[in-house]
Symmetry: C2
Subunit: 197 residues, 2 copies
């Protein structure tokens, strides 16, 4: 189990996301939060590579001041609809536009993770398909008024009010929340087998 | 949105499950808890029909003492592996046996829901496929020692330590947690359109 493998390490979660913190808490992982304030520009590069690159940048920033017993975990989640990356909406108008474009369609959520200590780092990513119901204009307005969309990639959160708009997913649910639990377990298991943890 | 449709109703959740209570809270639904202590026998009948019947029984029990502004919501979740229903484990040995049988396989989680007021009731169900990773004996022992499996159908919870054993799901995640949010939204939307809510 994850908390057994990480026992003895000082785990540092390089993320300000309360959802990632919640997942770590569910897994019984005690961790310190050191959010790196890195700007995450969106480019034309492959979305999975971008997510992993962003996660690696966050991890490296925190690793600069890490000690031997530290294990830094960073993640970056992006929402991709028909090849286009939807970041966090800049304002309500953009949230409205994102939600209209997601309505009645299936999109992909990709989380890149980077796990590292002072000696080595491992990158991985996970993709999940998410099917959105058709949203009426009034549903979109009501949802925007909850303020939930504003700090989230793609302008929705699967875990709150947004849950009622999701008809189905295919893949890892926790990946959509922001952290692919099983993928992380595989990563640290491999690091341990290789004698890197 | 669900909380808008239910506005003005006294919502009663006929369930003792903390996970269902949590989902209602995420959806901003204020509700009263009136858990009915009905024994839920497992039979050879179709699992989806059983889940709906159990939910209906729970709903009816609470409806007997309901008033006009009450809306009672009941649910019953069952885990089905290769045609066999796995209930809540009676003891650690049964939890071990359930987890061994789920290991490396895909099972189905079915939740039956029943929503009713003093005038009418609606039943529905939702199925989700859940893929389990291969579990080693030591993982199973560690998981049982967390005590998480003991009060849960199929001997696991997708939301806690159990999350690390789930490689993917197909369908509604909240259904696996115990309450199919989108299905419930559709149900109450239809009740409203029919003038029953």
């Amino acid at each position: 189990m994850i908390n057994k493998i990480l026992n003895g390490y000082n785990v540092i979660l390089a993320s300000a996301s309360p959802r990632r913190r919640e997942i770590f808490s569910l897994l019984g992982i005690k961790c310190e939060i050191r959010a790196s304030n890195i700007d995450e520009p969106i480019s034309a590069e492959d979305p999975a590579l971008q997510a992993m690159k962003h996660a690696k940048n966050k991890c490296n920033t925190v690793l600069k001041q890490a000690s031997k017993q530290d294990l830094v975990v960073a993640a970056d989640t992006i929402v991709v609809l028909e090849g286009r990356i939807l970041g966090k909406p800049q304002n309500q108008e953009e949230a409205r536009s994102f939600l209209r474009s997601l309505s009645g369609k299936t999109h992909t959520v990709i989380t890149g993770i980077c796990t590292g200590n002072t000696e080595c780092q491992r990158s991985a990513h996970e993709s999940t398909q998410v099917c959105f119901a058709h949203l009426s204009d009034s549903e979109i307005e009501d949802y925007i008024n909850t303020n939930e969309p504003m700090d989230k990639a793609g302008a929705y959160g699967i875990q709150g009010f947004g849950s009622q708009f999701i008809t189905r997913i295919e893949g890892c649910y926790f990946n959509v929340m922001g952290f692919p639990v099983r993928r992380f377990y595989n990563t640290i298991t491999n690091m341990k087998l290789e004698g890197r943890l």
